[in-house]
Amino acid sequence: MIKKLLFGLPLLPLVFLLFFISPLSSQTPIEEEEREYEFLEVNQKCLKCHGHTYYYYYNDWVERDIKARMNPYHIVDSADFYVSNHWNFRCVDCHSEDYAEFPHAGELRMEPIYECIDCHGGDEHYAQYNFEAIDEEFHKSVHSSKHSEEFTCWMCHDPHTYRVNARTNDNMEEFIRYDNEICLSCHANVNRYQLLTTVDNPNILDMHGWLPNQGLHFKSVRCIECHTDISDDLMVAHNVLPKEKAVKKCVDCHSKNSRLLTSLYKMQFTDQRSLVGFSNSAMLEEGYIIGANRNYYLNRLSLVLFGLVLLFISFHVILRLTIKHS
């Protein structure tokens, strides 16, 4: 019986596997470059109110201090602002100097709001981002065409908090999460979603119920991988497609010429394709995509081995038939 219990040994790896269940790792913090903040003091005049959910002022009419709620759309988190792309701006670089006065004048509400292209368009310094193409692609997108001028760059890229990720963040998991949170800030938030439409906000998890290993997909790729029309001119595609046109074929990503090469891995892929070794090896730095990462040597070796087996069998069959008949 003891000998026979040895047959249970192969079960051990299965039991062992159960001990490997572990909580997901915490994300690594972003390493901030050394920055010299020139405008902390001057911006603090705005942020002392706009950086908080409540602000305080002395009301001359009632002659007492008042605690009032800040409009949530006018709150700027100073921590987010000072790690954003516009960290070295004064508030009045984009907003009227007249905001220095409190209470703010009523006509300031009419102040035009800049769009990205207003500052970044036609500027050599930002040529690598190709803002003109971004603007063009965005205007083709379902966001722009369905919501016209209500939908601006700001809906996704709040200039007070937005920071470039795809080009600068080496932590792919983190930049995927950052980018996906932009989409989810409306598509998983009924209040923000219904600022633009009265249509019910579809449940993201239910809508993507068909996706195997849904959680892993959500962590490993951005929404835009499947929901945009990829443009060769852009690092990050901006033509968001109607949901009917979203990619639903697994092989579009899970194949040797994976779509991800021209989207998520575009940065790493410019010059890393190789015929030998692993196909699409840059993907292997960050993960593994079945169908897209194949090993040249293993493929060849498997074909040779399989061929040898067939050759041996054919030879054996011929010998059996020949000797039998003779």
């Binding site: 026979k4 299965l14 572990s22 195997p212 697994c250 899970h254 593994y288 169908g291 293993l298 069998i313």
Partner: protein, 205 residues
């Protein structure tokens, strides 16, 4: 009936055919995923994934049945052998397949109820069922639930290493299946061994 011996009880035959069908499904869907190409679609990727996942889970359960069967029935004895001197027997059997059978020699090891496998069979079945299958099942489960099993163990490369091992062992099992099916044609008649796995009776040479 004297030339026939009852070797394969019902549970072994049921397990064997279930195992064979599942392995075939897993090989076909596995190849389809590994070499997926939108230009030459062999099978829809999501179907391949679903069939592969379901077959893999059933294969795991079937494998547990196989292990329990070998622990609690005499069938387990067929997979036991002493390593000392065993490879000499394997070589003898190999010699028979590659030379002796063409000279009209008798098989070196008679098939009996106590010894239903020849040494080469026993060695390869142990290698497949007790080494390859546990590895392919465990790596398969790890790939099925990567978010639980793989995330922290070896970092972001873990899925890659696990899948490599899974694919390599899967390939070894595929080769085994081809060789196994061919060698089954070497019986009293070419189809005798296949019939044995249906009726349980082995026809002697």
């Amino acid at each position: 009936m004297a030339d026939k011996i009852y070797l394969y009880p019902v549970w072994v035959r049921l397990w064997h055919w279930m195992n064979a069908i599942l392995c075939l499904l897993l090989i076909v869907t596995g190849l389809s995923m590994q070499y997926s190409d939108p230009a030459y679609p062999f099978m829809r990727f999501d179907w391949a994934v679903a069939i592969h996942d379901i077959s893999g889970i059933i294969l795991t359960l079937s494998y547990i049945v196989f292990l329990l069967g070998n622990i609690f029935t005499p069938n387990g004895n067929q997979y036991l052998f002493r390593i000392k001197g065993y490879f000499k027997n394997v070589a003898l059997q190999f010699r028979y397949y590659s030379y002796g059978m063409f000279k009209g020699e008798k098989p070196p090891f008679e098939i009996t109820r106590r010894n239903k496998f020849n040494p080469l069979q026993r060695f390869s079945y142990v290698a497949i069922m007790y080494i390859s299958m546990p590895v392919v099942i465990v790596t398969g489960l790890m790939l099925l639930y990567p978010e639980y099993f793989l995330h922290d163990i070896m970092g972001k490369h873990s899925i890659h290493y696990t899948d490599m091992l899974h694919v390599i062992i899967g390939f070894v099992i595929s080769l085994f299946m081809v060789i196994h099916v061919y060698f089954c044609t070497i019986g009293a008649k070419p189809l005798s061994n296949f019939k044995s796995m249906f009726n349980g009776y082995h026809e002697k040479h």
